[in-house]
Symmetry: C2
Subunit: 399 residues, 2 copies
């Protein structure tokens, strides 16, 4: 007997989340167990309003799937709704709506908060005796989800950051007078994205010269000392900094002076703050660059590997649900880095939801404010485009 | 009799200036009139230090030329040196160095300031009876040079801006609550780059909803009224703003509050300022994004047409010099926009140097704060990749 399928997206955008949507729907179309396929607009919010799109009608040709997979952000829209800790009328309303539409397979794509929703709904529906399987599809540029080697969306953001940092360095080094450039990168608690700036060195460039991640307490004097030391060796420094760097007491660097003379909240963050401190100390030309949302929506610079994995993870989720699993998340298991090999897997949602996975501190070189080789080995395959034999980032010419 | 050639780069980086270098050197290698080919590091500054690179040794294979053409910023490095108004010892030193190295062909690649150098040196050397031909190669993302339909480097920056604005809009529209996003774009006096944000609409997207260029006096109340009007029609507004917008009295919007409580110069500009004003007025979610140097160094997102034209302009400059011309700039003449056709030309340097070409005000819709159709027609061909049959910017999937 057939059951219907519903898929939704949640949390922040990535360049690959639509590839998971494409992968899941494409796989579902091949399965006789699955009848109608709906997409809910704006996650659980849209589900509660029964704002459903019939996806079999909207995704017809292989070209549709290909274009969807290449589209950044979220084609179905997102929400930031968190279900209450104990089941309330919202849970019951969701159950009613799922029953009314004959949904047996429900897929929720997102990060930590979304997996919390998967966990709560799977438990509730099971307790109510419903055969409605709830499976999570991981997604986040931050790469801070446990239970999976890495998250779809991260590789593309990492590729964007590495490419951009290499271009920023090319831009810096054209002039003779010394300069320092601070690049502020997303990742409030996890330094994965900031670390990926290191891949700008893929073809031998020295930038970024320093990498400051939130896993390690930030010490302003050590930071300035290291910048001073490096500035004796290099005319132009590029410094990658996580938006979330903080002191050992937990206070954020970004929040030091976030109000202007009129008491308005300043939009500027840690990059501008550190830029000002560097300018005061060294007096050279200083620039601050905030990569902002560009790093999570850069569909034009997807990592081909990331997109392919995102598709596969979406397809895997469908297979898991059809096989009867619920309260699980589809995951990527790394078999080896060189050569790069992965398998697709399922993980209990309780091992994932609400747990933030940060960079192991033994992968961070505190003294040099840099990453260590195992982190490079972890990151490097994720930005590659295997089919095109393309390097992860463009190789620049130097005289 | 053979003469030697010297080429240098100056001003700010672009994604296509190295393509002009590649085009000029590649053409020179085919000409028997040209002996040695040198590149000066860091423009006239490097020339004065005789910091010369033998380019025949460094650019050997076609792969070298291809990679050079794909490298952003400036492979030879830049400078910001302006020659004095009347010839002084620097002129004479340059003359001596050029003579000592047997230079008969000197190429200077850059914008307004660099063309000023071409004009002064060409006149001086001619007055001294030297047969040293000085020819300018245009380059600037700002597109503010006269005498040429557009400047190499502009098309790639325009493509980056349009692609990025489309991605920013994709990022904005995933949530239900309303938002406004200000994107700050380079171009202190000329709005060409800000106008090119309009190309984000290539595939039907409504963003950017407003375009504010420095050619038109900025009126805060009109700006807020227009934003209010549009916000009744669209949940998510993206507003493209030139860093150089100013009031009718000439005062910059960016300079209103550029000092923090400690008297430090704020790095934030007009984007942050307008973001704060919008937040105060409308209370919705507001973001400010500064494209910063990313827009001038994005080698990974070159316009193929721009790169090809940059090569051709470089080659044309060499042909002009060998044909005996001096005190001229190689230029692009547009024959038609649909189909797009250009020819390569020479223009007297006096018609170019120190003249800033801004956007014709009749191409700007003041009331709607937008561009008019002739400006679209002008801009649209410049971001295309003809050989790949690629559209100017990626087409996103929408349900």
């Amino acid at each position: 007997m057939q059951g219907n399928m519903l898929i939704a997206q949640s949390g922040g955008p990535t360049a690959a989340i639509n590839a998971s949507l494409a992968g899941a729907v494409r796989r579902a179309m091949d399965m006789e167990e699955i009848g109608e396929i709906y997409g809910a607009r704006n996650g659980v919010t849209g589900l509660l309003r029964e704002d459903l799109i019939p996806l079999r009608e909207k995704l017809v040709s292989e070209a549709d799937f290909a274009r969807l997979a290449r589209t950044p952000a979220m084609a179905l829209g997102s929400c930031r709704l968190r279900l209450s800790e104990t089941p309330d009328e919202t849970y019951e309303k969701i159950r009613e709506i799922l029953r009314r539409h004959g949904i047996r397979y429900f897929f929720y794509t997102g990060g930590n908060d979304s997996m919390d929703t998967v966990q709560k709904l799977a438990e509730y529906l099971r307790a109510q005796g419903e055969d409605i399987r709830v499976v999570g599809i991981p997604k986040t540029i931050d790469n801070d989800l446990g239970g999976t080697d890495h998250t779809p969306g991260f590789g593309s953001a990492a590729k964007y950051i590495a490419t951009t940092v290499a271009e920023i360095f090319a831009d810096c080094e054209i002039y003779l007078p010394a300069s320092m450039t601070v690049v502020e990168i997303m990742g409030r608690n996890a330094g994965w994205l900031t670390a990926s700036a290191a891949l700008a060195r893929s073809h031998g460039a020295p930038a970024p010269h320093m990498i400051c991640m939130p896993e390690v307490p930030f010490d302003m004097e050590k930071f300035l000392a290291r910048a001073g030391e490096l500035s004796r060796e290099y005319a132009h420094l590029v410094i990658a900094v996580s938006e979330g760097v903080r002191r050992s007491d937990g206070s954020y660097i970004a929040s030091d002076d976030n109000r202007d003379p009129f008491g308005h909240q300043q939009l500027a963050g840690v990059g501008h703050r550190l830029g000002r401190v560097l300018k005061d100390r060294f007096g050279c030309k200083v620039r601050s660059i905030e990569l902002n949302v560009l790093q999570r929506a850069a569909g034009h610079l997807q990592s081909e590997r990331d997109v392919e994995e995102a598709r596969q993870v979406g397809a895997k989720a469908v297979e898991l649900a059809v096989a009867g699993e619920t309260g699980v998340m589809a995951a990527i298991r790394r078999i080896s880095s060189r050569p790069y090999q992965v398998a697709y897997d399922s993980v209990e949602i309780a091992q994932v939801a609400n747990i933030e996975r940060t960079v192991p501190v033994e992968w961070i070189d505190r003294e040099r404010m840099d990453i260590r080789p195992p982190l490079w080995e972890y990151l490097e395959p994720l930005i590659q485009s295997p089919s095109q034999q393309e390097p992860g980032i463009p190789k620049h010419f130097t005289f």
